[in-house]
């Protein structure tokens, strides 16, 4: 059963479309990943779903409620964690959480209890009386996330919640997200780190220039690359004999070759089948192989294949 439905969303700034006909649906209990490079339109999309921005065109619904016409009701059931640290730096962690809790209509003992739960969840209960400005980047991120959880939202929108945090804090945040999901919430997660969405998300939509260019489970997306991958070889002596690259290029399933110092990269649509003939060519040319690595298909590769550019510049 889908809880979120986005239908041909368009958002234009001046004549330029930041979001250009985006459609997807999110199943209840899913962690849905929106992956894309800077400027792809992730924040704009999430802003429309959170009712912050009105779309120029298209429609979206959360739990059957239109984000255009029933924004007030949508706001009661969603939690939103913005990309920037949206906290008051001179107030303490607890003061921040209490304030946001009150904005969601919480009060009294329930508010205290929810604040405690959230602070324990993000493991900052001990630091509750410290001002936010004294926190590290990762701790700020965790409170930023916590502020969106107070009212127990059914649908949680997270806009790059791990930007600029160390691996330990990131793991912390991931743990928290899994816990929230296990409690029954549905999550929309945006990121420009493919490893994050690979690890976290049940379903992934890849965005570029305002459009969804691929969508599916991780498995489905990787299948689009076929069984392809990259063979990385280190050869001695450095440099390849003339004509070697062309010879390799001609082998079965090989799609591209590239050399760099004494390294040779061979892209293939089926590395298992390309490997024996490639090794044979090298042997015939008198090249010694000092190391060999096979890279499995990845979202990074898919992105490059789809857009001709790297995910991270």
């Amino acid at each position: 059963m889908s809880i979120v439905q986005a239908d041909s969303l368009v958002k234009k700034y001046g004549g330029i479309a930041a979001v250009d006909g985006v459609s997807f649906s999110i199943e209840k209990g899913q962690i849905f990943g929106l992956l894309g490079p800077n400027g792809a339109g992730k924040t704009t999309t999430i802003s429309i779903l959170s009712t912050f921005l009105e779309p120029t065109g298209g429609e979206a619904a959360v739990d059957g409620l239109s984000v255009r016409r029933q924004a007030g009701k949508v706001r009661e059931i969603i939690g939103f964690v913005p990309q920037e640290i949206a906290l008051y730096p001179t107030l303490t962690a607890l003061q921040n959480l209490k304030f946001y809790g009150k904005m969601y209509g919480l009060g009294g003992a329930l508010l205290d209890e929810r604040c405690r739960d959230v602070l324990e969840l993000v493991e900052l209960w001990e630091r509750r009386h410290d001002n936010i400005e004294k926190f590290s980047g990762g701790m700020k991120r965790r409170i930023n996330l916590g502020a969106g959880l107070l009212h127990g939202p059914r649908f949680l929108l997270l806009d790059e919640p791990t930007v600029g945090v160390d691996p330990q804090s990131r793991e912390h945040i991931f743990d928290t997200i899994f816990k929230i999901r296990d409690n029954g919430a549905t999550i929309l997660y945006t990121s420009h780190y493919m490893e994050e969405v690979e690890l976290l998300c049940d379903h992934i939509a890849i965005m570029d220039r305002g459009k969804v260019i691929a969508s599916g489970t991780l498995k489905e997306l990787l299948k689009m690359l076929g069984e392809g991958g990259v063979i990385e070889l280190e050869v001695a002596p450095p440099g390849c004999p003339a004509g070697l690259k062309e010879k390799i290029q001609g082998q079965q399933e090989v799609t591209a070759t590239r050399s760099e110092d004494n390294k040779l990269f061979v892209s293939s649509s089926n590395s298992a089948r390309s490997l024996p003939p490639v090794l044979k060519v090298l042997e015939q040319s008198g090249c010694q192989i000092s190391s060999l690595e096979l890279y499995a298909p990845s979202l990074e590769k898919l992105f490059i294949q789809l857009t001709g550019k790297e995910l991270r510049e």
Partner: protein
């Protein structure tokens, strides 16, 4: 009901932020107090006797007693040295190399003509370039001469009454008798010029003038900081977070403005309180009137802050445009010098600023001793002024950055 509650939570949150912000209190209270104290002490000679010593040239052509009495009355002030001078010296304001800001020429038969009830003109020469001592000295002459006129009027009334009561009496004898009595009384009570600087009603404490002026200016700086905070809240995402929570735009903006209004009321009240308790600034006789003026001023300032935030896109813009607007309004509106001394078209222009209306009302109470009813027009104009700013600001302020 929940909307009002949430509005109040926003207010309480903002008040908490201001309360914890030492820098804000520095700008809201400490800086203005330093400026008020420095300016008040520096300018005190202009408004009261203080340490001003001036020389006035006096040419007395009068053979009677009144000319001498007038001269003596002026000389009685510890701040003035009277120098007898020739006509020429008085006209050029120069005597043996040194110059003076003002001179007075008492005409021939001054006493006789005054006693005969004629209008007599005293000739005053002033240095057009002197901004401080000339107005001050002129005020003292006015004061002394006013006393004279009062004595003469009293004498005439006495004459009229005497004539009424005793038709047989010789009117002119009564008149000279009364006049003589009045003159005698004047000699017993030498003119207290220090009580009547610039012909005013009461002794002015410089703090009476400077505290309201600078308090209003720094109130505007306070709301400018508030406007920057409003833009920052919008751009830092906290407002975005509120916008997607179940809270109305009215509660968010209303709560923030209410907090700013409370801060403004506290700020201006504390500035006046320090002026009063530490520097004996007069608070007039109508505390209700003063309170109404301060509240009206704080309201209008808050609305000005909203308008500033609405008309600018970024914090930087708000502060650069804000500083320009506030300095302009303060200069035009009488925060730096009383509008009584500026040309009348500048005074009219000045009343485009909220400062002028606020200061008219506040000074009416603390300097002119007016009551609540007297300042209602100024309070009404301020509320109208503030409401217009408020409505335009509310309509134009964008909760989403462009």
């Amino acid at each position: 009901m929940p909307a009002i509650k949430k509005l109040w939570y926003v207010t309480a949150k903002d008040l908490l932020i201001v309360a914890k912000d030492r820098g804000a209190w520095m700008t809201l209270l400490v800086t203005p107090l330093v400026v008020i104290v420095v300016v008040s002490f520096a300018l005190s000679p202009i408004y009261k006797g203080g340490s001003l010593h001036a020389t006035m040239l006096v040419t007395n052509h009068d053979a009677g007693s009144l000319g001498k009495q007038l001269t003596d009355a002026l000389a009685a002030s510890p701040n003035i040295t009277i120098q007898p001078a020739s006509d020429r010296e008085s006209q050029t304001l120069k005597q043996s190399g040194s110059s003076s800001g003002l001179s007075l020429v008492i005409p021939k038969n001054f006493s006789a003509r005054v006693q005969a009830g004629e209008r007599v003109q005293l000739q005053v020469y002033e240095d057009p370039n002197s901004t401080t001592s000339a107005p001050f000295l002129k005020g003292m002459i006015d004061g002394a001469v006013n006393r004279f006129s009062a004595v003469e009027v009293a004498a005439k009334v006495a004459v009229a009454e005497a004539v009424e009561q005793n038709r047989q009496a010789d009117a002119s004898a009564v008149a000279s008798q009364a006049s003589a009595a009045a003159s005698a009384q004047m000699q017993n009570q030498p003119i207290q010029t220090r009580e009547q600087p610039a012909g005013g009603v009461k002794t002015l404490n410089t703090f009476d003038i400077e505290t309201p002026g600078f308090a209003v200016m720094f109130l505007l700086f306070g709301v400018m900081i508030g406007a920057e905070g409003l833009l920052e809240e919008r751009d830092k995402g906290t407002m975005g977070r509120l916008m997607v929570a179940p809270v109305s735009r009215a509660s968010i903006l209303g709560g923030k403005l209410f907090a700013q209004f409370i801060v403004s009321v506290i700020q201006i009240t504390l500035l006046f309180a320090v002026g009063h308790f530490a520097f004996s600034m007069d608070t007039g006789s109508s505390l209700a009137g003063l309170a109404l003026m301060l509240v009206a001023t704080a309201f209008t300032a808050t609305s000005f802050g909203l308008l500033l935030a609405a008309l600018t896109k970024t914090r930087r813009q708000a502060s650069s445009i804000g500083i320009l607007a506030i300095l302009l309004m303060s200069a035009l509106g009488g925060s730096w010098w009383p509008l009584d001394i500026v040309p009348s078209f500048m005074r009219k222009l000045g009343h485009l600023s909220m400062n002028a209306w606020a200061l008219d009302g506040i000074k009416g109470i603390i300097i002119q001793g007016q009551g609540l009813a007297d300042i209602l027009p100024q309070a009404a104009v301020l509320f109208a002024y503030g409401s217009v700013c408020f409505l335009i600001g509310l309509k134009m302020f964008k909760v989403r950055a462009a």
